[in-house]
Amino acid sequence: MRSKILLVSCVVLLSILQIGMTGIAQQQKILVVAITGEPEITELNPVRMTTTYYTAEAYPGLIGWDKDGVVVPDLAKTWDISPDGLTYTFHLRDGLKWSDGQPLTSDDVLFTIKMLTEQSEFWYYLWAPIQVPKAATVTGYAIMPGAVTTPDPQTVVMKLPSPSATFFINAAGWSVLPRHYYEGMNLTAGNPDLSTYVASGPFIPREKVAGDRLVYVANPNYYSGKPALDEVIFKVYRDSTAADIALESGEAGMFPNVPGQDVPALQKVPNLQIGTEQNQVNIYITFNHHQKLADGSTNPVSKLEVRKAIAMSVDLDNILNSSLNGYYKLANQIQVSNMGYLGKSVTNTSIPTPEYPYDPAVAAKLLDAAGYPADASGNRMSLSFVMSSGGRTGSTSSLKMMQLIQSRLQAVGIKLDLIVLDEASARQRIRLQAPPKDWNMALWSISSSPDPDTNAYFMVSTLAGNGDAGGWNVGGYFNPIVNDLTVLGENTTGVDKRVAIYQRISGIAHDELAVLELYYQTEVLAWNKMFQGFILGLGNPMHDYWGALKAQSLAQVTLVEATSTTSTTETSSMTPGTGFDYTTIGAVVVVLVIVIGAAVFLARRRSAKKT
């Protein structure tokens, strides 16, 4: 009887393992993208979204960016800017349609600007130059009457009261939304229904399974043509190891954020391809520039000599290579190296890389000169360092990096007390705490934009309270010249003149070590070789980071047939578990049965002998 039960159980178990793995009609071309953070439904709400990862595939803007950060046409085929910089005219492509077949016209552009200006506390600022106060709206702003006109369905005209250097990128780079879908919807209190979602990009979000996946389907009305893929599914794998396993087994087709330490193992997998792309994130150490801390103690890093000594005490390239497995670009200034401005490089080439040479001997002398000689134990000072365990700067690599920096600083007598907090606590302490703050240094970051004003304004200016509690200049670095230059940059419209201004700001920030630049972030991507056509490089900077996953890239990805170099687990469908091997399973089961049977037999024999 027992053996019959066992036999039936084995048959049922094997059936469960097999069923669902074979026989599924595989005519759909699906790319499963492994992601480690769950996309929230609010990220598809154009008014409430805080990031634009997930609307990037659905809503192109009037302009886009190629992989090198050069502006290219998107929904607008051409545009004109009047010589006085006050009138912007955009000409939409012919025959644009939404996914439901409705025409995409200039009226949708007007609606987008109006809706986001009046309702989105997160994005209203994009059209600031053409806004007026209006208390009745959610944001307190409305579009200036007559500022945006639509003389015909293919033309949008925007008129500014005064020139604005930032307007073109902000206004034209943002997503265009469908009036006929969103009009009347209260997006401040609820989210759109994905089952009826209307989009113009290559893929339309269609279904979200809570905690599991976000499904996009191909848009047959995309202006570049229906994508080769039928679906793109962002599937949640909460741990990167699980995502690696899914990629290797074929359950996932791409993993866009491979941790550096996982790359060597994935490189050995024959059917996977590895690529890298530098995004626009700048990771740096911010110094507290106040002379005294919140507890009244003197703040050593407020002295330039101490900051220089810290910079020269760490061999950054080696440290980053060790902690990030070589996947980084060594930073040397506040403007990210791959983010040009309208085709011009903003990099200040006079700033060396690394910013300061590694020279602990000189660092020690600087500390002596600054009034921090070493005591009998070799200690000079203790500094506190705050960092997050989550978000952009929170990872095991970041922690390893800081531990290496800590050990190098210890060698010159600086004891660094690492304070690692969860993301919310870290942000509270680093950014929201009122100056002068209670820490000496912190790990911080910024996501650059195609306008160099972003990094200059937010990293090193104190304009509009940016150096106070809640500002992004969390260390409170202050230089009135930098503030003046930043204002000048915002009001200068010539590309070359603007670039020169921001290069000068970068130079001052470097000379005064406003921040210690660490690296510009590099993403490592791994994908199954059956998917071809990814365009690696800069993402759409208005839409966060993913280069290979931005709309123009995904729109042209194709699924090729399995080759002899691919593993036997692959099929064109990328469904899980299609490499079932009866032989291996049978062998494992037989071995287990023999081992357990032998153990039971021996045990019974011994018991019998004892009695």
Partner: protein, 310 residues
């Protein structure tokens, strides 16, 4: 009824205080866009009632607990109750089978060990239990993932359902359940097997067992009819306590296997300071543990005639 209300008040207050004591409120996450103006930030906080004084938020929260209005999630922009409710099935679908399997296998192993105390069987089963008890759940999860999802490629690597399946499919669900359930079961078996073994060994030493044997009853009867029922009493207590343990164990397992249950929701919501969700979850967990302990006590009263309740 009065006790229930008092309990809700105490639990709710404790949860509210604990959550708000943690540094870094929702503003640290919600208002991270550096371009938001002060008025925009105020508008966001106002939309969630975060501009109100803490005392007022507390009163509204307590009133909401009773009326079922647990507020709106800052991140889902949906009623917190609905968000939590949508994840409960996933957690139950993982927890209940795991709990049942853990109890059954734990009891069976404990019984097997107790029937042959201090023999190789006993030692092997105890070692087996300790081995998995000492093993971190997330590590075991990854080992199982690597073996079955990667090397053998017979089971999925993550989630509760396949991408090609819409709606609920029993076979698909079972395939996805195998690995996380096995992980949770293996690391928790020792709690029951060792307890049952120890309890039974003690019971088998009692006078009435000696009497039963002396009367000539078969050993099987002595064991299963007389010893086992008494020996399982402590296990009932353990089951009641275990509801809480398996919830916390589920958080790690849900992370490894990306199982979209309450554990992951708790973890994410705490990090994001999504107070309505966090407070709602803590309340549910508190109620579950209180209820399971109450049920345990009642069952105890049914099983053991020596115990009576007023």
């Amino acid at each position: 009824m009065a006790v229930a209300i008092a309990l809700i008040f105490v639990v709710g207050t404790l949860n509210f205080v604990l959550v708000h004591l943690v540094p870094g409120g929702p503003g640290a996450i919600l208002l991270n866009n550096p371009r938001m103006s002060p008025s925009a930030k105020d508008a966001v906080l106002r939309s969630f009632g975060l501009d109100k004084p803490l005392q007022e938020q507390y009163v509204l929260y307590l009133a909401g607990l009773v009326t079922g209005n647990w507020g709106t999630s800052y991140f889902f922009l949906e009623p917190a109750f609905d968000v939590i409710a949508s994840r409960i099935p996933a957690t139950l679908l993982l927890m209940v089978p795991s709990l049942i399997l853990t109890i059954l296998i734990g009891i069976v192993l404990g019984v097997l060990a107790a029937r042959r105390p201090f023999t190789y069987v006993d030692r092997f089963l105890s070692a087996f239990s300790f081995f998995f008890y000492a093993m971190p759940a997330f590590w075991l999860g990854f080992v199982l993932l690597t073996v079955f999802a990667l090397f053998l490629d017979v089971l999925p690597a993550a989630g509760m359902s396949s991408i090609t399946v819409s709606g609920f499919d029993m076979i698909d669900y079972l395939r996805h359940l195998i690995l996380p359930m096995t992980t949770l079961t293996l690391v928790n078996i020792a709690n029951f097997s060792l307890l049952v073994r120890a309890s039974l060994v003690e019971v088998l030493d009692q006078n009435y067992i000696t009497t039963a044997r002396g009367k000539g009853l078969p050993e099987r009867l002595v064991f299963y009819r007389h010893a086992l029922r008494n020996g399982l009493l402590p296990t009932v207590t353990m089951i009641g306590l275990f509801v809480g343990f398996i919830l916390t164990g589920a958080i790690l397992t849900e992370t490894v296997f990306s199982w979209p249950g309450l554990g992951l929701l708790t973890f994410d919501s705490i990090l994001r300071r999504d107070y309505p969700i966090v407070l709602g979850l803590f309340f549910i967990f508190s109620v579950m543990i209180i209820a399971s302990n109450l049920v345990t006590d009642l069952i105890y009263g049914l099983l053991d005639p020596r115990i009576t309740y007023d």
